[in-house]
């Protein structure tokens, strides 16, 4: 994309390795994508495909023994991977923040929640007094629809329900009005009944602030509801990306098709669910060529030889599959 202003976030050729007792895990290999201002992007894939690690890499918070070994992550034109620590900290929490998967364990158990929300403000605005920050925090707790915020601010996390805790988390991460919000499975640890509430709340707040969103989920339905574009990952690589409509209506990678087949059909609820045969490959020794080839019903000899590039299948919709390349899979 050769537009005049750079995208909000550009991830290019990201590679992450884990050095473990049993060998090197190729957790992420050549992942690239962009997020425009105000855009919501969904990152989908099975557990262990590298969604969460991608998110953590953007904040440069990959836990050892994982390491970013190659690639580039540019935020508003600034390269994050070479930024010094101090500058990186001004980005975290202020410009890019992240909502975690399990709200109840992601809040400090021995700190009152009002203080935890205020802390984000205090870190990034030295001129703020504690009193001011706490007041702002209470306002923010109110805007995530927490009843009686002044009293709730004095509570400890263990006194909250999962849904309440996630509201606190959202307040804590959006109180600085970040440009980019990463949401790592924000609702999967919650009761089904409140998932929709939390999603709606998030979408409303984000619309008001005007942040971009990177929504990580294994649930295509969540992504379909909240995102403009979707990126499908498999075994540490991006296999398909495009607008939500394009990808869901015309899945162009056999893996995406397989993933969609595992979902119940809205139109024809009686259609039998299918699972994808085979197992996710070991990332200690990923297969040569396309990583999905061993499980792919349409794979040909080329798929086991070469790594597919991203091929355009129309209107910014791309798929990393030789089915769309000149010469096909043979």
């Amino acid at each position: 994309m050769a537009t005049a202003s750079p995208p909000l976030l550009a991830v290019e050729d990201l590679q992450i390795r884990f050095h473990t007792l049993r060998g090197v895990v190729h957790a992420l290999d050549g992942v690239s994508f962009e997020i425009a201002r105000g855009e919501s992007i969904g990152l989908v894939g099975e557990t262990g495909c590298g969604k969460s690690i991608t998110a953590r890499a953007i904040l440069r918070l990959v836990d050892p023994p994982g390491r970013i070994t190659a690639g580039s992550i540019r935020f508003e034109g600034t390269e994050l991977l070479t930024l010094d620590r101090r500058a990186m900290r001004t980005i975290r929490g202020q410009k890019i923040s992240m909502i975690m998967q399990e709200p109840k364990v992601s809040l400090n158990p021995v700190m009152r929640i009002g203080r935890q929300v205020a802390e984000t403000l205090l870190i990034h605005d030295r001129s703020l007094s504690h009193r001011q920050a706490e007041a702002k925090a209470r306002d923010m707790l109110g805007s995530v629809s927490i009843p009686d915020p002044a009293r709730m601010a004095q509570r400890y996390p263990h006194e909250l329900s999962g849904g309440m805790a996630q509201r606190v988390m959202i307040a804590m991460m959006l109180v600085t009005r970040p440009r980019l919000l990463i949401a790592d499975e924000p609702t999967s640890a919650l009761d089904v009944t409140i998932q929709a509430q939390i999603l709606d709340l998030m979408t409303d707040l984000i619309a008001e602030i005007g942040s971009s969103v990177l929504m990580i989920s294994h649930d295509l339905a969540v992504v379909a509801e909240t995102c403009d574009r979707v990126i499908v990952m498999y075994a540490g690589t991006v296999v398909e990306s495009g607008t939500v409509d394009a990808v869901l209506d015309e899945p162009s990678h056999p893996y995406t098709r397989g993933l969609l087949n595992t979902l119940p059909d809205q139109v024809d609820p009686d259609r039998p669910l299918q699972s994808i045969p085979g197992n996710v490959p070991s990332l200690l020794a990923p297969p040569v060529g396309c990583r999905f080839a061993p499980r792919c019903p349409e794979a040909g000899p080329r798929c086991r030889r070469e790594t597919p590039a991203a091929y355009d299948v129309g209107a910014g919709h791309v798929a990393a599959c030789f089915l769309h390349a000149d010469g096909g899979v043979a």
Binding site: N108, H158, M172
Partner: protein
């Protein structure tokens, strides 16, 4: 809170009663005849017999036990054969010195133990980790009596940097007794010369004793810190953009303190036992030395009283630790018990 305290005090009472029984039977199995020790080796048979009646040793065991309990109820621990004073008075006399020593040692243990433990956890498997673990392991492996002798040899005999064993220079007068702790009393009296001298005297024994308690704290601080550092809320704190040292102190340490506090209570107990040996080496006129002398001379009432007091202290410290634990950990509400 009140219900919890009552429950705790109830079980405390039970344990104290048990301790009283144990110490009583302890005194029963002592094979040597303490009367011979009191009366002297040349005492005629009838003197010993008379003393036997005076001290009630001629009564059957259950009568002795009954009398013993009755005396305890009145806070009477009997007379020390050695000092010829009531044991309770002796203990109150000697105890402040031990409390003073153990408290300084405790501060040393906690400060350095936490420091080593946290550094170890943060720099896990690096040379810092290995070094601090070796330091704390050497600390716990050190025979305190030997380290005490060694430090005396170097800093008193050879270098002359620190004063002779004891609590205070013989040329100085003790300040008026308020708490019995020289460092406190000298401050109250505004006598800085005594304060400084007492501090110099306390330095070596406190270091020896502190090193003794340090390892346990360092170990539990390390392991609970390691545990805490893998928690999600630590990641949250980093996501917020908090500097790493603040992540460790504000979010890590506070949570790691919860299990560490329990260890600190246990350490206080081990300082009391360490005091027995340390005080012997440094001629520190505390409870430890009083007890040792009592054991070596088979001063029955002193043994029973001293041992009981140590056990009692140990229990009280643990009660305080549990209260502190509940304070540090908002997930625990005292009303519902301590599990």
């Amino acid at each position: 809170m009140a219900a919890y305290l009552i429950k705790r005090l109830g079980s405390l009472f039970f344990t104290i009663a048990g301790i009283a029984v144990v110490t009583f039977f302890l005194s029963m199995v002592i094979p040597l005849d303490p009367l011979a020790a009191i009366a002297g080796p040349q005492a005629p048979e009838e003197t010993v017999e008379r003393l036997r009646v005076v001290y009630g040793f001629d009564q059957p065991i259950h009568v002795q036990f009954y009398r013993y309990v009755e005396r305890l109820m009145h806070g009477d621990l009997g007379m020390s054969f050695q000092t010829n004073r009531p044991v309770l008075e002796d203990i109150l006399n000697f105890f402040p010195a031990t409390l003073e020593l153990a408290t300084i040692a405790m501060v040393i243990s906690v400060v350095f133990g936490l420091l080593l433990g946290v550094l170890s956890a943060v720099y896990k498997n690096s040379w810092i980790d290995h070094l601090s673990r070796v330091i704390s392991l050497v600390g716990v492996s050190m025979p305190v009596f030997w380290l005490g002798l060694l430090l005396l040899l170097v800093f008193y005999f050879k270098l002359g940097w620190l004063p002779e064993p004891g609590r205070l220079d013989i040329m100085l007068f003790e300040p008026p007794r308020v708490t019995g702790m020289l460092l406190v009393d000298s401050v109250i009296a505004g006598d800085w010369e005594v304060f400084w001298d007492a501090l110099k005297h306390a330095f070596l024994p406190a270091v020896v004793l502190g090193l003794y308690g340090l390892a346990g704290i360092a170990r539990i601080a390390r392991s609970s810190m390691l545990d805490v550092l893998t928690q999600e809320y630590i990641k949250t704190a980093r996501v917020k953009g908090l500097a790493e040292w603040l992540v460790i102190l504000r979010h890590g340490l506070r949570n790691a303190m919860v299990p560490t506090v329990t260890m600190i209570g246990l350490t206080y107990g081990s300082l009391l036992e360490g005091a027995v040996l340390t005080e012997t080496i440094f001629s520190w006129p505390g409870l430890g030395r009083y007890l040792t002398t009592a054991f070596l001379t088979l001063d029955l009432n002193a043994i029973v009283g001293g041992t009981m007091l140590v056990a009692l202290l140990y229990l009280i410290v643990n009660l305080l630790v549990d209260l502190l634990y509940a304070y540090l950990n908002p997930r625990i509400t005292l009303a519902s018990g301590n599990d």
